[in-house]
């Protein structure tokens, strides 16, 4: 059965006030279109979990969607500080819960595997472990040595952008795969946005590339350019100019409000956003083709 609906319908149906959201993607495939739609729908009191909050959570926090962030690296990647999340933490306006990258994704891995917690080796850097009571220690019953454990993270909703999916939600992802698969399996509901909706035959031509199977997907939304200003491997490049620009915009409440008015509230959906970006930006971010050598699955 087709799960294809509009992104606006998907957010309205599956994202509720107070939910814990994991908008996945490590630098790559960040689902900005979905973040903007959540802002437009005025959803409140979200707990926003992501290894790197990135600009998407900076914008959602600025728009008043969040009461808490869970993260492991809070910066504007390759640029500097993430001003809005940072200043709200510094002034006590935003709750936070912090891990290292490995601690964060180990939580997701446990959640995805249906385990209550997962162990990691010790690192001897215990300050964060003392500040965050979710970090605990247990004895390895085999060696008797201490290991560090973190509890499963099971978000209410994962939002994952992919290169292509069929209408059932079987999705191909390539390039940096970050924590896409783990976030999807760990969450109760999964919303996919896809650059392309393809027929089943395309997906079945390369089953090893299906990182997310349709059985865990609730909604499939066709949203080209959904990851801008981040990127989609093979489709368009990261808009580094915008990442630099956000460093300036995010320093004042007025310019953030003006940005949200123009680029989020001022457009109906991602199609209008892309149209508004214009051909120059799309040309600047275009990438040259570099195809892989096909593999032979064989006829059996």
């Amino acid at each position: 059965m087709s799960k294809v609906i509009t992104l606006s319908e998907a957010i309205n149906e599956y994202v509720n006030n107070g939910d814990t959201i994991y908008a996945a993607g490590f630098t790559h495939l960040i689902p900005f279109a979905a973040g903007h739609e959540i802002i437009r729908q005025g959803i409140r009191n979200l707990t926003l979990a992501r290894a790197t909050p990135d600009l998407i959570y900076d914008q959602m926090v600025a728009a008043g969607c969040a009461s808490k962030v869970i993260f492991s690296y809070m910066g504007n990647p390759g640029v500097g500080s993430l001003h809005i999340v940072r200043s709200q933490i510094e002034t006590g306006r935003l709750e936070w819960e912090e891990y290292s990258h490995f601690g964060m994704i180990t939580r997701l891995q446990a959640g995805a595997a249906g385990l209550p917690f997962m162990p990691m080796k010790q690192t001897a850097a215990v300050d964060l472990e003392m500040m965050n009571p979710n970090y605990r220690r247990v004895l390895d019953p085999y060696s008797g040595e201490e290991v560090v454990v973190v509890p499963a993270l099971n978000p209410d909703v994962a939002i994952v952008h992919v290169q292509r999916a069929d209408e059932n939600g079987n999705a191909h992802i390539w390039g940096i795969t970050g924590e896409q698969r783990e976030a999807a399996f760990a969450s109760s509901k999964v919303i996919l946005t896809a650059e392309e909706i393809v027929d089943q035959k395309t997906i079945r031509s390369d089953p090893n590339r299906t990182l997310i199977p349709g059985i865990i997907v609730d909604a499939v939304c066709h949203v080209p350019f959904a990851a801008h200003p981040s990127y989609t491997q093979g489709y368009y490049d990261r808009d580094n100019t915008f990442y630099l620009e956000w460093d300036k915009i995010s320093r004042s409440a007025e310019s953030v409000q003006a940005y949200l008015e123009e680029w989020v509230y001022g457009v109906q959906n991602r199609r209008e956003y892309v149209h508004k970006l214009g051909p120059e930006v799309r040309d600047r971010l275009r990438v040259e083709e570099r195809l892989s050598t096909p593999v032979n699955y064989g006829k059996y």
Partner: protein, 256 residues
Amino acid sequence: MTQNSSFTSPELLTINASRLLRDGDVVFVGVGLPNLACNLAMRTHAPNLLLIYEAGVIGAQPARLPLSIGDPTLVSGAAAVCSMYDIFALYLQRGKVDVGFMGGAQIDRFCNINATVIGDYQQPKVRLPGSGGSKEIAAWANRCYIITYHQKRRFPEKVDFRTSAGFLSSRSERESIGLRGGGPQAVVTDIGIMEPDHTGELVLAALHPGASVEQAKANTGWDLKVADDLRLTEPPSQVELQILHEELDPDGIYIK
């Protein structure tokens, strides 16, 4: 930095860091100067360096200067790509990484690093980005190197927060915990190179051409000791400078 040096700080940092890498090393790379140092080493004395990135890329051969840790140029032409869980678990925790590069706002006398907070954790004066991969890299890579500018505020006696472990309060304290990684090996600055002594304390081990011991002491927040066999680093060569400026960072984004 030094007024009588004809080299810029980023040149000195990158070139001296690159020389610490050995051919065949598996290196956990960050963006910016560490990335340049690794790519420089690959083009000079260490052609068989294997670059791995925390985004899950193994054997990257970036065709352009990567501007973020997850730049798509790291993927195109790489030997392998895996999930973030796999890169930290199968590669780093399992013990497949020789070298890690670290950075941070504060580095203390025993090379513990703070990338989390200045002031109190709950009521931060300055909130920094946090650990990212560094908590585990510092513990589990065989050798760690730090590249940073030599300024007093960056080198306090004690860090406000230990984001990642150097030698804690002594080499024997780190050893007693039994971490698989050997810990910090060197801190490359624009004045010289600091290395841990037998107790784990960072001492001045080398000076760049034109820099002085007084300068190093004045820019360090503890009473910096000087190694008995204080060395002088070789000045950057024409070949190294040319590769950096013409091939690796032609737009001068990191190397001025």
